[in-house]
């Protein structure tokens, strides 16, 4: 994890808890955001923005980890919206980030999913969250999560196993 210089800056509210949250969740959240965006740089930027939201709303964030996760998911989805204009650029990001890695058809196929399907799969198969928590993070009903996961897997299979 990146160095924590919490001794320099202390949030006014929930100081220790916020620092703990950062220590425990920053890097995992960046990984999560990376899986949803395919960009290391964007992932860090978005997770930092999510932490800013948590910091500003600390008193209202009764379950900071869930709040943080929801913020990360929402920000990643917004990031995808912004990238909607330039599909080629989005594709370039994925290709550039993948340079140096071995070919991974699964990863490439994941990048082609709709953001919401991709988020559902990441939350289920990487985070290991139950459907109820995925639904909460995505702001949908549990039944919708089932559908997203089912269709997402189906689309991946169509690409990877064709």
């Amino acid at each position: 994890m990146g160095g924590v210089t919490a001794e320099r800056h202390q949030p006014e509210s929930g100081t220790d808890a916020f620092v703990d949250l950062y220590r425990e969740r920053y890097e995992p959240m960046v990984r999560l955001a990376y899986l949803m965006t395919g960009s290391n740089e964007a992932a860090e930027e978005l997770v930092q923005e999510a932490f800013v939201k948590v910091h500003r709303n600390w008193d209202r964030a009764h379950t900071p980890v869930a709040y943080l996760r929801t913020a990360v998911v929402n920000l990643c989805r917004s990031w995808h919206r912004r990238r909607f204009l330039d599909r080629d650029r989005r594709a370039r990001i994925g290709r550039q980030e993948a340079q140096g890695l071995e070919a991974d058809e699964m990863w490439d196929a994941l990048a082609e999913l709709r953001p919401r399907q991709r988020a559902a799969l990441v939350l289920k198969f990487y985070e290991g969250l139950p459907e109820a928590e995925i639904a909460e993070a995505l702001g949908v009903r549990p039944g919708t999560v089932k559908s997203l996961v089912h269709r997402g897997l189906e689309q991946l299979r169509n690409v990877v196993e064709r």
């Binding site: 990146g2 210089t5 500003r56 709303n57 929402n74 699964m106 709709r114 919401r116 919708t144 991946l156």
Partner: protein
């Protein structure tokens, strides 16, 4: 190895290669303590919901009970559409780039996220846009992404960013019958009215939550519809009591890459 396990393994492999900045914590606190970035998320939310907005209202006469009264007004009352006004600030990419340059030079304030609106327009719609404007008396330059201070006007009302919990919620309000003198004036839509909402769907497989209320804190009804195809969605909401205007309609979609724009809304209590 199962397909799901292969997926897990792929995710794990890529996630483990993520690098993080050593100064991330300081940057978080600097951003939390520093000036907030206006427009970003509100613009996204607005643009995503308002790339194409057309509104039609029809009003009919009411009865003697003021609480149930419908006051017709305006030249288009009685069933004819008031207006159809898609929203789009520029005509093409060239104009978009020019607008971006003016904004970068400080000559013009940014109204909506150009990228987002452009994407919606160019990818999904072939329409002309008349106006996109902000409601300046409610704009707070220091507003963060989760305030309700930003609105986009269109003939028929405004699209506003809803109050949210600060977690990036992209809900929007459609405030119907307010702020525009060209609108029919309706004081109350009587009990038993039906609000029929038609909306285009960019994404399929989404849930759309529609609320109708008299304020953004007092909802009279809420209905969730599942959209499984790209066809335009349609839902009818029955009002079990009178609704004083401005009638507030709240459409929210859970689509990550789509939006719900209000295509038509009919208030019918015949």
């Amino acid at each position: 190895m199962s397909f799901e396990d292969r997926l897990r393994e792929s995710m794990q492999t890529h996630a483990e290669r993520v690098e993080t900045s050593p100064d991330a914590y300081d940057r978080i606190l600097e951003r939390a303590d520093g000036p907030r970035r206006p427009w970003l998320a509100p613009a996204l939310a607005i643009a995503s919901a308002a790339a194409v907005v057309a509104l039609a209202l029809a009003f009919v006469g009411g009865d003697d009970d003021p609480a149930d009264e419908v006051v017709a007004g305006g030249p288009n009352s009685g069933g004819a559409p008031v207006a159809s006004m898609p929203m789009w600030p520029v005509a093409d990419f060239e104009a978009l780039d020019a607008m971006q340059r003016r904004v970068d030079a400080g000559e013009e304030r940014w109204l909506v996220d150009p990228e987002q609106v452009a994407s919606r327009y160019l990818a999904e719609h072939d329409v002309d846009v008349d106006k996109v404007r902000m409601r300046p008396d409610e704009i707070d330059p220091e507003s963060s992404a989760h305030t309700e201070a930003v609105a986009v006007g269109y003939l028929g009302g405004w699209v506003e960013l809803a109050r949210t919990d600060g977690a990036g919620d992209d809900a929007v309000w459609f405030v119907v019958g307010a702020h525009d003198s060209r609108l029919p004036v309706v004081d109350v839509v009587r009990t038993g009215a039906q609000v029929e909402v038609v909306f285009p769907i960019v994404s399929e497989d989404v849930d759309v939550v529609i609320r109708v209320g008299r304020s953004d804190r007092e909802w009279l009804t809420e209905k969730t519809v599942e959209v499984r195809k790209r066809d335009p969605g349609r839902v009818v909401v029955d009002l079990d009591r009178g609704v004083p205007t401005p009638l507030i309609l709240h459409l929210r979609t859970d689509a990550g890459d789509g939006f719900v724009g209000l295509t038509e809304m009919w208030v019918d209590d015949t």
